[in-house]
Subunit: 380 residues, 2 copies
């Protein structure tokens, strides 16, 4: 059902149109993270439409424990539940299981862990993850994988990646079966595989070759931005992206800063997601073309300028730094909302500009100009 | 500068147009409370325009301690600071001083207290309250009064009301002086006096007569909804409203439930404010024509209906009870925002309907129909 149409390459950077049953995504794209079916910071799907969001990402683990994927299915799937008719990607739950949950036990079948909400024991393996994501009815489901830390020992990573490959086959089989069921929410649900291998280029490459053979709808690079340096991350991308299919989406999971995203695009990535814009927004850290500002800083007390001059977001078109700083200091939710809206708009706009630059064959110059701006620091 | 044009009376209920330098308010009106220059629940002034808010109320005490009224003045006044060009009413700070602040000492000059933010010692009397409100540049300033509890002894209330009268003269004098200063934010700032007297009708009436002689821009009834029964409140309104000028706004401070507001209107009140819609919204309590719902209730888990069928608010036009319940349970700010928007819309709409009913001479029937609906409980 999905069609990935490559529109333009510019060096390794690529810009494409990815058509799904929930509409078309222009890449490169930044996915806005709505963990429990809502973007933190009081941002609604109506707001997402306004700030240029093309695709939303929700977390399978969180939705499984609350409200429960069966509830979401009964409500007609996640699209109807959160009133969003454009694409949704769900992660597999794996990352949260390995990072949030208590007392996990990893076996060949899957993982046993305690819910962080009520402590109840939950088992999740490839089949369970696919079933939950099928109940959610997302546009794109992610394969259930283990995400070893980038600092893990080589011997552990070898074993882990082999298991992730076996799990991937089970994911594919179960997703095929679920999509053909009569009561499925989204019979056209797509499946992306995930490349792992920590910071060992040879493991990454052999794993990339292995999963590419499964001919999935897209491929992600997981396990980065979890402890390694930016240079190590870029190095892994340099090694592995060439081994992922050019004619399918390439997704760099959980990355990252505006600079990380520009570097990822330059290496051939076209899907990104990260909690930075929303999490930082809730703490008064906001992005501008001249780097980021901490609105708690006293120098903004009487600053009547918007967060960024010329920005078209709902915060900048109406409210001053001084006002938003006051809201943050007074712990008013509106402050967090305005900062989050600005930051998401900033990220969405950054990748839109990158897209345009690629399509016009001037990506390198664009990236250089942007990175110099971020490093310049605030003007005036 | 202000003009109160009575459009229609229906029994004691009145509907008017109150024209100020910041635009015209149609009464009866419900003022939406934005304590620190923002409505709690991540509601912005842009949202207020959308949900039919005519006039916003902010709290002098809170803005004085943070960000400071001098800061607001330097930013061009509260209207510019919060980006709201319609009327704003500021309270006097008195109520908060008597209810929030520590170690208060009441003297003839005013009150000494500790800030609830940083503990610093602050003195506020009639002149200070007028100066702060002048710095904020609100459309309507409220007189600085003492608000004795409705359960206070008669002898205490007698003394307190006499002092409030002396303070009112000082408020009027200072406001006249401030309005004529060259650097004032709003040279047309209005002043409303406040009637006190706990639940002693004779004290209320003699105080009403006394303050009416000062020929202020409007009159409020303070010190109700602070411990007495609803019947006692209505009884006081029955006694005192006839002694307040018919050709000026009558404002019942801090009241109340939808039923309280309908009863207040029926007794001649035309301005109201209350934190109920926003505070209750943040706790998942939402209003409907059939009474209020607690969205935490398990019966809404799979309820695909909006909070209220037919409601035109930003929550009901797009999201289900089941979704908003999930957000509330997951402690997502968006849940609080949607419930708050619905509740404020509900209140704004209720008084708009009351206005129409008065202007069409059918207020008694309207009130009866509404009160029966609220008492009916949820349908289905």
């Amino acid at each position: 059902m999905a069609q990935y149409r490559l529109i333009k390459t510019d060096g390794l950077a690529k810009s494409a149109e990815f058509t799904t049953v929930h509409g078309t995504v222009q890449t490169p794209v930044f996915m806005n993270v709505g963990t429990v079916g809502a973007i933190k910071g009081a941002v609604s799907t109506e707001d997402l439409e306004r700030i240029g969001t093309q695709i939303e990402l929700s977390n399978t683990y969180h939705l499984h424990v609350r409200p429960g994927d069966e509830v979401v299915k009964k409500m007609g799937g996640l699209h109807r539940f959160m009133s969003w008719d454009r694409p949704i990607l769900t992660d597999s739950g794996g990352f949260q299981v390995f990072s949030l949950a208590d007392l996990r036990k990893i076996k060949e079948e899957g993982v046993t862990f305690h819910s962080h909400i009520d402590g109840r024991l939950i088992f999740m393996g490839p089949e369970e993850s696919m079933t939950i994501q099928s109940n959610l009815g997302s546009t794109i489901a992610m394969a259930f994988d283990e995400c070893p830390p980038s600092t893990a020992e080589r011997s552990y990573v070898d074993q882990s990646v082999a298991r992730t490959s076996r799990w991937l086959v089970r994911c594919k089989n179960r997703m095929n079966e679920l999509n053909s069921r009569e009561d499925t929410v989204n019979p056209h649900q797509l499946l992306f595989g995930i490349n792992q291998g920590a910071i060992y280029p040879d493991i990454r490459i052999s794993h990339a070759k292995e999963i590419t053979e499964l001919d999935l709808d897209g491929y992600a690079i997981g396990g980065l931005a979890v402890g390694e340096t930016h240079e190590q991350m870029y190095d892994i991308l340099d090694h592995v992206v060439p081994y992922l299919p050019q004619d399918k989406p390439t997704y760099l999971m959980g990355v990252g800063t505006p600079a990380n995203i520009l570097e990822g695009i330059d290496r051939g990535v076209d899907f990104f997601d990260c909690v930075y814009p929303s999490r930082n927004g809730r703490h008064g850290h906001v992005y501008t073309k001249y780097g980021h500002l901490n609105l708690f800083n006293a120098k903004y007390e009487l600053d009547s300028r918007p967060i960024e001059e010329g920005c078209g977001c709902p915060a900048c078109t109406r409210y001053s730094r001084a006002y938003i700083r006051h809201l943050m200091k007074a712990k008013e939710m509106l402050g967090m909302r305005l900062c989050t809206l600005h930051n998401l708009y900033f990220y969405n706009n950054l990748v839109a500009d990158a897209r345009e630059a690629i399509r016009e064959g001037r990506y390198k110059a664009f990236k250089k100009m942007k990175l110099e701006g971020f490093a310049a620091g605030e003007q005036g």
